[in-house]
Amino acid sequence: MALISMTVNGVQVSQEVDDSTLLIEFLREKLKLTGTHMGCDTTQCGCCVVHIDGVSAKSCTVLVGQAAGRSVTTIEGLAKGGELHPLQKAFREHHALQCGFCTPGQIMAGAELIATYPGELNEHVVREEMEGNLCRCTGYHNIVRAILAAGAEIRGTKITDPTLASHSVEG
C-alpha cells in the first residue's frame, strides 16, 4: 500500500492505495470519475485517455504511482468555469459521437492534439495523429470534422476545404 497524492481536475487528492492500482482504477473506483472508460485494458483503443501534466496518456496502463505529484485532467475536468471546451461543443455540433463510450478518450486526445500539434491541422494530420483512438460507431468521418472545427476555433484559423468545413451532417 502507498499514500498517493495528485491533482485531479484542479483538486488535490490523497488516498492510500495498493501499489498495483492502475491510474484508471484510481480515477473510476476511488474517485468515482467514471467518464474515463476501460475499453481494452491493453493501451490499444484509447477510451481511457486522460491528460497528465497536459499530455495525453492511456490511463489503463499507467500505475497510479506514476501520476503521483502530477496534475491529471479527465473528461469531467475539461470544461472550464461551466463552459464546455470547444471540442466538446464541436462533438455535439458535428455528431461526432454515437454510443459515446470512446468519446471521452477521443475528446481528450483531440484536445491535446489541437493544443500541442506544431503544424497546421488538416484531415491527413488528424487521421494520422488520432490513429491510437478507436471508434466503432462513427466511421471517424464526423470526429475528423469536429476536431478540425474546434481546432480552427481555438487557433483562430480557417478550414479551407469546404467538404470538411460544412456541416456534412445535414447533407
Binding site: G35, D41, T42, L84, L97, F101, L134, R136, H141
Partner: protein, 789 residues
C-alpha cells in the same frame, strides 16, 4: 382521422439530447455503476475447442486470499437454475420458415449458464470465481483445476457440415440443424435448362465480431427482503433480458429488474443473453453481496456473440439479352457451438435475388454447429452476405459475357411500377426506386469521371479500382412495441421499450412525438432501459426501432387526442363534438378560449384525481409487415503494387431509408455502417488456427479494425421513398451502410487487379493477400510470355 401533423422537428438535423452527458463524462454505462459491498467475478474459461469435463476442483482456488466462492454447473443444477431460452428461430409471419431435415423441428442444443458435460468452444466459461477484488478473482481463477478430456473438434463451416465431422450434439446425427428448401424448383430447373448463359460462384463470407468498445459487463444484486434481483447490464433490450433471466432462475419476471442505460455499442452482439448476466445474480444470491463482472478485451473477442460466416454456392441463368431468368443458391450458416439465433441465415434467405427481377429461384438453406463461439445477428444480419453473392456474381457475369456492369444491372432491376414486388422466395418489397438510386449514385460519385482518375493514378504507378453495388435489405424484427405517453404541466414523457446503443432514440423519438403532438422538441423526453419503468417492448435490432417507435407513438397520440378532446370539453363546458383540435391546441367556437396540452394537463388534474400524475395513455402495437431499405454504393481505391497497401479514395452512397426523421443521425449511421462493412472486406476476421482450433484474434493487435488513418471521408445522400406500411413511412437507416460494403470493396479490388486475373482469396483482403495476388498474376503472365517466346 386527425389532421396531418405539421413537420417542424421531423426531417431536421437536430442536435442530440444524449450528447451533453456523454461529452462531459456523465454517461451511465454498466461498469459505471457500483453498489456498496460489491465483489468481483472472473470466469474460468476452456482452453480446448471441444472436451469432456471430467471434474472441476475448486479447493485450491478457495484457499486463495479474498476468494468468496467458486461456482460450477453442478452448483447451478443443484439450485435448479435452468437454460437460456434464446428462441433462435425467427418466427414473425414474414420470416422464412426454417426447419430441420425433412421439415422436422430445428434441434436446439442446451445452453446452461455453465456446462456440466462438455466444453464446445475455446473460451467457454466453466466456472465462476468471486473474490473481494478483481485481481484476487483473476489470480484464483488460475487455481481452479478443471480435468478435461479433449475431443475431436471442427471449426470450419464446410468441414462441420461433412457427414463424418466431429459431432457437437449426441442427439443430432450430424452437425446440420437446419436443412430447408425454398422457391420453385420446377420452374427454376426449366429456366436453367433453356438459359443461354449460366454463371456461378462459390464464396465463404467469413467470421467477424461486433467489437463494441464497451466490453460487456454486468452487476447483479439479490435483495432477500423483497426477493428481487437487480441486474445492471447493457444489452439490446432490457425487457427481453428480464424475461430470459427470469426463465433461467425459474422466478416470476416481476422479481427481476434489468437496468440498461447507456450502451457502448451493440451491432447485434448484445441482443442475446450472456451467461455472465445470470451468473452475477447467482453469485449475489449465494454470497449476499452484489457481484460485478466486466469482460476484458480478450474475453470480448473470444466470447461476444460473433457474426456472418456463410458459405454460398450461387448460380444465375441469363438469356441472350442479359435478362436474368432464375437463380439457385445454397447457403450454409455456421451457428457456432450453441444456437442462439438463426437470424443471419433467415434474413439472408429472403433476399437472395437482391434488387433484381429474377422470376424463379430455389434456395437450399442449411445451418451447422461447430466448435466456435456462437454467431448472432451482426450489423445488417444476413444481408451483406447475400448482397455480396448476387452483386459479385453480376460483376462476374458482366465480365464473362461482355456486358457493362451497370448496364447489366439496369436491365434487371425491379422497377417502381412493380412495387409492391414479391421476389422469387416470397419476400414482398414494399417500395423503392432502385434505378433512380443507381443513377443518382453514379452522378454523385462522378462515375463518368472515374476512368480519368484511374488513368491519372496509373500514371503515378498505382493500381486503381472502381467498385459498385446495389442493395436491398429487410427490416423485420420483433413485432410488438409499447409506448406510455404522459403529458404533465411541465412536459411530455414517452416511455418505450427500444434500446439504443448510440442511435439517438432520445432525440429522434422526441422529434416525432413533438410534431405529432404539436409541442416543441425541447418539451419531450424519452425514457428507456429500466424494466421497472419500461414494462414491455421489443428492443433494438433489425432496424426496427424508428419504424416501430414512430408507429406506436402515432397511435398513442391519436388516443391522447381523443382523451384530450373529452377533457377539454369538460373544462370548456361544451359538448365533445364542439371541441376542435389542431396542432397541439384545443378550441371551441363557443368561446375564444384555447387550451394547449400543458394547460389541459393542469386542468385535468383539477377535474379528476385520476390525472394527478399527468394525462396518460398506454398503447400497444403489433406490426409484422417488413420494410425494405435499399440503395447503391460505389468506391474508388488505389493500390501500391509494390506493397499491396490500399487506400480508399472515395466512398459514395445513396440510401433510401423511407422517411428520414433526423438526417444527421441517419448519416452517422451510414458512416459507421460503411466502416463495419469495409472492415470485413479488408481487415477483420476471427481466425481460428486450423491445427489447434485456437482463436488467433484476441486483441486489437490481431484483429484489424477500421481506424482514423485507413478510412476515408464519405459522401452520402439520403433518398426518401416513403414506405406504405407504417404511419410515417419509415424504413430503416442503421444497416444500409454495411449491407453493400463488402461487395463494393471487393468489386473495386477486382477492378484494380484485373490485369493480374480475378483475385481468388477469402476476405479480408489484407495488403499481404493483395501483394500475393499481384505476384501470382505476374508469375502467370511471365510463364505465358515465356511460352509465347
Amino acid at each position: 382521422m386527425e389532421p396531418k401533423p405539421k413537420f417542424k422537428a421531423v426531417g431536421q438535423p437536430l442536435r442530440r439530447k444524449e450528447d451533453e452527458r456523454l461529452i462531459t463524462g456523465r454517461g451511465q454505462f454498466t461498469d459505471d455503476f457500483s453498489l456498496p459491498g460489491q465483489v468481483y467475478a472472473v470466469m474460468v474459461r476452456s482452453p480446448h475447442p471441444h472436451a469432456t469435463i471430467l471434474g472441476i476442483d475448486p479447493a485450491p482456488a478457495l484457499e486463495m486470499p479474498g476468494v468468496l466462492g467458486v461456482f460450477t454447473g453442478d452448483d447451478l443444477a443443484a439450485d435448479n437454475w435452468g437454460q437460456l431460452p434464446h428462441n433462435p428461430v425467427p418466427s414473425t409471419k414474414y420470416d422464412v420458415k426454417l426447419t430441420g431435415r425433412g421439415g422436422t423441428p430445428v434441434y436446439i442444443g442446451e445452453h446452461y449458464l455453465l456446462p456440466r458435460d462438455r466444453v464446445r468452444h475455446v473460451g467457454e466459461a466453466v466456472a465462476m470465481v468471486v473474490a473481494e477484488t478483481r485481481q484476487q478473482a483473476q489470480t484464483a481463477a488460475e487455481m481452479v483445476m478443471v480435468d478435461y478430456d479433449p475431443l475431436p473438434w471442427v471449426a470450419d463451416t464446410q468441414a462441420a457440415a461433412e457427414p463424418d465431422a466431429p459431432r457437437l450434439w449426441d442427439a443430432l446425427p450430424d452437425n446440420v440443424l437446419v436443412d430447408s428448401i425454398f422457391g420453385d424448383i420446377e420452374n427454376t430447373d426449366a429456366a436453367f435448362a433453356k438459359a443461354k448463359h449460366v454463371v456461378d460462384m462459390h464464396y465463404h463470407l467469413g467470421r467477424v465480431t461486433g467489437v463494441p468498445l464497451e466490453p460487456r459487463a454486468s452487476l447483479g444484486h439479490y435483495d432477500p427482503q423483497t426477493d428481487r434481483y437487480t441486474l445492471y447490464a447493457g444489452s439490446g433490450g432490457a425487457v427481453r433480458q428480464k424475461h430470459e433471466h427470469a426463465a433461467v432462475m425459474g422466478v416470476n419476471p416481476d422479481q427481476v429488474r434489468v437496468i440498461s442505460f447507456d450502451v457502448g455499442g451493440n451491432f447485434g452482439t448484445r441482443n442475446r443473453a450472456f451467461v455472465e448476466f445470470g451468473l452475477v445474480m447467482y453469485g449475489s444470491k449465494k454470497l449476499g453481496r452484489p457481484v460485478k463482472f466486466r469482460a476484458d478485451r480478450s474475453e470480448a473477442f473470444l466470447t461476444d456473440y460473433q457474426g456472418r460466416d456463410l458459405v454460398v454456392d450461387i448460380s444465375l441463368a441469363i438469356d441472350e439479352n442479359g435478362k436474368f431468368l432464375a437463380l439457385r443458391s445454397k447457403n450454409l450458416s455456421n451457428v457456432g457451438s450453441r444456437c442462439v439465433s438463426l437470424s443471419p441465415l433467415s434474413k439472408g434467405s429472403g433476399l437472395i435475388t437482391g434488387s433484381y427481377d429474377i422470376p424463379y429461384a430455389t434456395l437450399h438453406s442449411r445451418a451447422v454447429y461447430s466448435n466456435t463461439m456462437s454467431t448472432q445477428a451482426y450489423r445488417s444480419s444476413g444481408r451483406p452476405e447475400v448482397c455480396f453473392a448476387i452483386e459479385r456474381l453480376i460483376d462476374k457475369a458482366a465480365r464473362q459475357l461482355g456486358y457493362d456492369r451497370v448496364d447489366l444491372r439496369r436491365r434487371n432491376l425491379v422497377s417502381p411500377e412493380q412495387m409492391p414486388y414479391t421476389n422469387a422466395v416470397g419476400s414482398e418489397y414494399d417500395s423503392g426506386e432502385y434505378e433512380k438510386n443507381m443513377d443518382r449514385l453514379l452522378e454523385l460519385g462522378d462515375f463518368v469521371g472515374a476512368p480519368a482518375r484511374k488513368a491519372e493514378a496509373i500514371k503515378r504507378g498505382k493500381l486503381y479500382g472502381i467498385g459498385f453495388s446495389n442493395y436491398v435489405e429487410s427490416s423485420i424484427g420483433s413485432p410488438k412495441e409499447r409506448a406510455d405517453l404522459i403529458i404533465r404541466p411541465n412536459g411530455v414523457e414517452v416511455i418505450i421499450g427500444t434500446q439504443p446503443a448510440g442511435q439517438g432514440h432520445e432525440t429522434s423519438f422526441a422529434q416525432v412525438t413533438a410534431d405529432l403532438l404539436g409541442v416543441t422538441f425541447d418539451q419531450v423526453t424519452i425514457t428507456l432501459g429500466d424494466t421497472d419503468v419500461v414494462t414491455a417492448g421489443g428492443g433494438t435490432h433489425s432496424g426496427r426501432s424508428m419504424r416501430h417507435a414512430s408507429a406506436v407513438i402515432s397511435l398513442a397520440v391519436t388516443d391522447m387526442i381523443a382523451k384530450g378532446r373529452a377533457i377539454a370539453a369538460e373544462a370548456l363546458n361544451v359538448d365533445g363534438g364542439q371541441v376542435e383540435y389542431e396542432d397541439g391546441v384545443f378550441r371551441t367556437n363557443a368561446t375564444n378560449r384555447t387550451i394547449d396540452w400543458f394547460e389541459l394537463s393542469r386542468l385535468a388534474a383539477s377535474l379528476s384525481p385520476d390525472h394527478a400524475g399527468g394525462l396518460k395513455v398506454r398503447r400497444d402495437n403489433e406490426m409484422h409487415t417488413p420494410v425494405f431499405p435499399n440503395g447503391s454504393a460505389m468506391c474508388e481505391i488505389e493500390i501500391d503494387p509494390e506493397t499491396g497497401s490500399l487506400e480508399i479514395m472515395r466512398y459514395t452512397t445513396v440510401d433510401d431509408v423511407g422517411r428520414c426523421i433526423n438526417p444527421m443521425i441517419v448519416h452517422g449511421q451510414t458512416h459507421g455502417g460503411i466502416a463495419q462493412g469495409v472492415g470485413q472486406a479488408l481487415w477483420e476476421a476471427c481466425v481460428i488456427d486450423p491445427e489447434t482450433g485456437q482463436p488467433l484474434a484476441a486483441a486489437f493487435t490481431e484483429y484489424g479494425m477500421p481506424r482514423f488513418d485507413n478510412m476515408p471521408s464519405f459522401l452520402c445522400e439520403i433518398a426518401e421513398v416513403l414506405s406504405p406500411t407504417n404511419p410515417l413511412g419509415v424504413k430503416a437507416g442503421g444497416e444500409g451502410g454495411t449491407t453493400p460494403a463488402p461487395a463494393v470493396m471487393i468489386s473495386a479490388l477486382e477492378d484494380a487487379l484485373l490485369e493480374y486475373g480475378p483475385p481468388d482469396v477469402a476476405m479480408p483482403f489484407t495488403p499481404l493477400k493483395i501483394w500475393s495476388e499481384i505476384q501470382k498474376g505476374k508469375a502467370i503472365a511471365a510463364t505465358k510470355q515465356q511460352g509465347a517466346a
